[in-house]
């Protein structure tokens, strides 16, 4: 490799003998712009064109606020459930040896592969009052299908692999000698898990939570079947966008979508900060 004679100050691209930079970068940028950037900026442009009073009226509409609260609230709960059970599933898959482990491991990805509409009708049938699970919960007075609880169930299904697949590789990398050292020094199992293992896993768990949460907030297909879709009670924000579109109320659909995007990005930002903080704290 030859080094540049005088180190030029600013250089867009490092020199390379490999051809095709202009072609591949040009094509990639053009495709990205056409498919993603122009349509997304169209959305931002349309919501900016609404003007502040109209935007504010849509944003503070009781139905909008309730839909956003339900979407973010149920997604938060579901992600929390997945943090507990997803971490447990990852632990069992990484640490224990049992027949059929590969099959169980592969099954964890089912929610990635199963179309959301299929998941939606399957879960609804299971949790309906006369369904296999709904029938068992009915005598206990627990109604799942057609309530916000149903939304949480659907989002737990959708979000599970995000937590498992984020935590699992980090768990595999844990050096077991650290645990042995802690045990030698007199720590009991619970202390080892909470003081030695958990700090190392915390950033991955936070990331898994964030991915499951972000996916849950936007989820539509699996939720609309089981939710019951009662305005103010079990109507999620993506569904409200669809309803406004069907009413040809483009401004409202646009404004709700813009709010959802903004909230999601704020959330991702916060999670990034928390991750940086926990990495520093537990480094």
């Amino acid at each position: 490799m030859t080094t540049a004679p005088a180190q030029a100050g600013w250089r867009f691209k490092q020199p390379s003998v490999i051809p095709g930079f202009g072609l591949t970068l040009g094509f990639s940028l053009a495709y990205l712009t056409l498919i993603i950037l122009i349509p997304l900026s169209g959305l931002l442009w349309r919501s900016a064109a609404l003007g502040w009073p109209e935007f504010w009226a849509i944003a503070t509409d009781r139905r909008t606020i309730n839909a956003l609260r339900i979407s973010f609230g149920t997604a938060f709960l579901a992600a929390a459930v997945n943090v507990v059970f997803g971490t447990l599933v990852a632990w069992v898959l990484v640490r224990y040896r049992f027949p059929g482990r590969r099959i169980v491991d592969a099954m964890v990805d089912l929610p990635f592969a199963l179309p959301t509409a299929v998941a939606g009708i399957a879960l609804t049938t299971l949790y309906a009052p006369n369904g296999w699970i709904g029938k068992l919960l009915m005598p206990l007075g627990i109604k799942v299908a057609y309530t916000p609880l149903g939304i949480v169930i659907a989002l737990v299904f959708i979000g599970l692999p995000f937590v498992v697949r984020t935590v699992q590789p980090i768990m595999e990398e844990i050096d077991r000698e650290v645990e042995e050292a802690a045990a030698t020094l007199g720590a009991n199992r619970l202390q080892i898990i909470t003081r030695v293992l958990f700090p190392g896993l915390a950033p991955a768990i936070v990331t898994g939570f964030a991915l499951a949460f972000a996916r849950g907030v936007g989820e539509y297909g699996s939720v609309i079947f089981i939710a019951g879709n009662l305005p103010y009670k079990s109507e999620i924000a993506p569904l409200l966008i669809v309803i406004r579109l069907e009413e040809y109320n483009y401004p409202a659909a646009t404004a709700i979508a813009a709010i959802m995007l903004a909230l999601s990005f704020i959330m991702l930002l916060v999670v990034n900060l928390v991750q940086t903080w926990s990495r520093k704290r537990y480094a």
């Binding site: 867009f12 691209k13 390379s16 003998v17 490999i18 095709g20 930079f21 970068l25 094509f27 990639s28 940028l29 990205l32 498919i35 993603i36 349509p39 169209g42 349309r46 059970f85 599933v89 632990w91 069992v92 224990y96 590969r102 169980v104 592969a106 099954m107 964890v108 990805d109 089912l110 592969a113 179309p115 509409a117 299929v118 009708i121 399957a122 879960l123 049938t125 299971l126 699970i133 692999p161 697949r165 984020t166 590789p169 042995e180 720590a187 199992r189 907030v217 936007g218 539509y220 297909g221 079947f225 993506p238 966008i241 669809v242 579109l245 483009y250 959802m260 995007l261 999601s264 990005f265």
Partner: protein, 294 residues
Amino acid sequence: MPDPEIKSYEPHHGSRSAAVTESRPARVALMAVAFAFLGIFLVLPLIIVFNEAFAKGIDAYTEALGNPDTRSAIRLTLLVAAISVPLNIVFGISAAWAIAKFEFKGKAFLTTLIDLPFSVSPVISGLVYVLLFGAQGLLGSWLKAHGIVILFAVPGIVLATVFVTFPFVARELIPLMQEQGNGDEEAALSLGANGWQTFWYVTLPNVKWGLLYGVLLCNARAMGEFGAVSVVSGHIRGLTNTMPLHVEILYNEYNAVGAFAVASLLAGLALVTLVLKTLLEMRYGAEIAATRGH
């Protein structure tokens, strides 16, 4: 070199002391909870799909699948996947080449932009095209004047599908090609191969399993996408209904056998995807390990 005498003091892997693994009852309890959770949340939904599809016997099942509207939904889903997956393959390879083989300013930002569709709700992915191409949309009147139909037709469905499956191939290939470095390509070039030959005979064989992995996930999502496609499709029976949309229509008409029969095909697709994915991970784990997961 480990001293054999010292090594003999190390505990065997099979019999770690209680302090380094959980006690047997705790292990059994943890496994029981994990399996119960997975059984309820993953296995039961899968079983119920097939159970409901065959609830009224095999004849009712095959009859449901023989329905002309169902057939046209299957054809449309295959068509949409056949257009959108290759588009994203070409993009994925191109983006991975630019990002993995070169150092340039703004690379990290570009990589973030490629992942952007994953953090957008599917409904919004469809909405952006309605705002662009719809009757009230930015290009709506121009399209109408020129007689071009995008929304509530196949082009709109393809666009929405391309949007939601956009990152799949690229995000598998970028880390893989970055890990492999440029050595092989530089050797080929110095031996006189041209750029195209280098890509075709050197790079592509190196990444083929990773590429296949990405294509597999991309295809599963393309055939199963619901939210984005639902917004742009217009739900015209026999014309713009994909399989997932057809499942919804049949289900809302209380045609459970019909809905679950179509759903069983999609569940079968998901199972085949999982099996192929696992086989790829088992055989070519080292090659695609960089990007395991979503």
